[in-house]
Amino acid sequence: MSRLGTVVRFEFVRAIKKPAFWIGTLALPIVVILVSVLVGVGQAAGSDSVSSSSSATKTPFHYVDHSGLVSASVAAQWGGSPSRDAAADRAAVRAGTLEAFVEYPAKPSTQTIRIDAADRGLFENGGYSSLAERVLERSVAAAVDDDEAVALLRSPPATELTAYADGRVAPGWLSIVPPLLYVAAFFGIVILLATRMVTVVVEEKENRISEMILTTVTAGDLIRGKVVAMLLVGLVQVGVVLVPGLVVALAALPLVASRLGGLALDPWRMVVGALLLVGGVLLACGLFVAVGAAVPSIKDASTLQSAAIFALIIPLYAAFFVMTTPSSPVAAFFTWFPTFTPITAMVRNAVGTLSVVESVACIVEVFAAAAVLLWFAEYLFRHSVAQYGSKVTLRQIAGWRRGRPGTH
């Protein structure tokens, strides 16, 4: 086995044989699933509660009708009776002797229905609005002698949209999901890779192994072996998350596809997304290796490591803005700033706002930036690998460029 292969094997095997690796790797999807389930259950319970609490129930109330639309009999069915003195009724509500007072405006279609009511709590108070609306709705329906009209008044009609692009049916919302998975994969890899990559790069320096190992393998082979090994480790981690994720997705998609427009795989977007992901991960590797090469210990790496992670994932915070206004200067900045490009371009690619020319340019940019960063990281590593106990300074780097001695 070549020395490069030996380094790759050693770094890969020792990473994946550790229980902590599997705990960390498996914990992420488990935690995500658990949180999703909890949120889903919580939301379901919450919406049930809100809908039930805010639904109209028979409640004693007085009302004033300036519109003339409210039917006294309908109002009476829901506990309402006409007000004789609006001011007195309002005072009664404030005093707690009357549950609610409703004032219907002359034009309810454009004007607001005013309600004064005894407090039932944040969620229960919604029931008063439902009650006032229901009384008005039922009153209007009672005046219409057409079942279809009444049905339309009670529930708006369903619509089915078929959009066309280039003479073919345009993909629906679900079509953005597959290319957006690249963004999720990139985010996950960056988070999982950051500490591991910095740690393995700084390890020889921190443990004073550099000189011993550099008589057996070149600094270049050593760092390349580590990068390849960590990429393989990243693949394992993504696989662990992706396989069950795909199984769940395949099982769940038929349930929601009819509502969201069906799953559509656009080969172009998938290829562009994949290339951006690969280039982005290489760029991230370059950043993390450079961080590891610049510091003497993992403790000293934390600030730079955080900065590197931010530099890669901060476009997530602007993703919605970039998606909705892709031609704005801000979107352009996020698209073309090298460390922002992977996520921004992947998001725009997913929603279809990245043109073919922009796609090619972004891919070229990401790979070029990754190549430069990886070259610089290896250069930094070669020159600093036997520098124990102190950070690499910009002055030192400038000195290396002027031909002062450094490490091979």
Binding site: M1, R3, T6, V7, F10, R14, E203, N207, R208, I209, S210, E211, M212, I213, L214, T215, T216, V217, T218, D221, A386, Y388, G399, R404, P405, G406, T407, H408
Partner: protein, 323 residues
């Protein structure tokens, strides 16, 4: 097996505006055990790093067997002064990894490591994490990695630092074995007894220059060859017959001046004449640690006209190379 040869010519290493090594030249012959000596910061480790291609020299050439060293060349065992291991990995995994990097196949590396661990009494620790070993045990593992695959050139930078006497002896025995096997050994140490026991020739570095270079007798001769060990009461009076090198308790070491008789009789006469009560007197070859103290205990340069300066100039000239 034949050992490797080393050739260093006009080696300069500059850090910033400071020349850490300044025009150093020396050779090490195949199979020779060579002592690279010097005080802290004198340029020893810098020289070795450049020799092994870990750092790039500012000027000059450093070759092993006639060519700059590259890891692919192999055949080198280097135990640096700053040393460690992958602390979270098992002893056997770390040794196997280094063995494979040295070109052994995995089964060979495992077999070699297992045999070595048995020999040094750590066989039962093979599967423990390195950080579970004591400092001395880790050092023995490091030495094992260094001598793995019978290297033709062994470079040991302060190999016995921190070792107890038992482990120190074990380590020196292992070095002896490599010597007997024909390997070239470069030893960096502050222990002059190790140098006297192991080394054929030595190079004393001071401020990045060769301060003395040659066989041990050559260097001793250059520093007067002999020293008078005197057991006495009281202090040592000044005299043009000798120079006081060291005085601890009742024992003083006096370096004869150029004008002094070889048998030291005039030194003794001078002391007695000055009223010193001498209870013991012996002329012996000047020990290396005495030379070390003389070289590094003075600020005098090799050409400052002093006795030390003259000695330094003499050994370097005889060593066949000039700083």
């Amino acid at each position: 097996m034949s050992g490797a040869s080393i050739s260093v010519r006009d080696f300069v290493m500059r850090f910033g505006d400071r020349d850490v090594v300044d025009g150093l030249s020396f050779d090490v012959a195949p199979g020779e055990t060579f002592g690279l000596l010097g005080s802290n910061g004198s340029g020893k480790t810098t020289t070795i790093r450049a020799l092994l291609g870990i750092t790039t020299p500012t000027a000059g050439s450093l070759t092993i067997d006639g060519a700059p060293y590259r890891p692919a060349t192999g055949g080198i065992g280097y135990l640096p002064e700053e040393r460690g291991l992958y602390r979270k990995e098992s002893v056997i995994d770390v040794m196997t990894y280094f063995g494979m990097l040295r070109g052994l196949r995995r089964p060979e590396a495992v077999r070699w490591s297992t045999e070595y661990l048995e020999r040094i009494g750590l066989a039962d620790r093979a599967k423990l994490r390195v950080d579970k070993l004591s400092g001395g045990q880790q050092q023995k593992v490091q030495l094992g990695i260094t001598i793995m695959d019978r290297p033709r050139l062994l470079i040991l930078d302060e190999p016995t630092k921190g070792l107890d006497p038992v482990n120190r002896r074990l380590l020196l025995d292992l070095v002896d074995e490599r010597k007997a096997d024909g390997a070239t050994v470069v030893l960096v140490t502050h222990h002059m007894d190790e140098v006297e026991r192991l080394c054929d020739r030595i190079l004393l570095l001071r401020d990045g220059r060769a301060a003395a270079y040659g066989t041990i007798p050559d260097v001793q001769d250059a520093f007067g060859g002999a020293v008078a060990r005197v057991v006495l009461d009281g202090s040592v009076p000044p005299s043009d017959r000798y120079r006081l090198a060291r005085h601890e308790g009742h024992v003083a070491h006096l370096v004869p001046s150029a004008a002094a008789a070889a048998d030291g009789s005039d030194i003794l006469a001078s002391l007695v004449a000055a009223g010193v009560h001498v209870t013991g007197f012996e002329m012996r070859r000047i020990p290396l640690d005495e030379i070390f103290v003389q070289v590094y205990g003075h600020d005098a340069g090799a050409d400052d006209g002093s006795a030390v300066g003259r000695a330094l100039a003499g050994t370097v000239a005889r060593g066949g190379s000039a700083a």
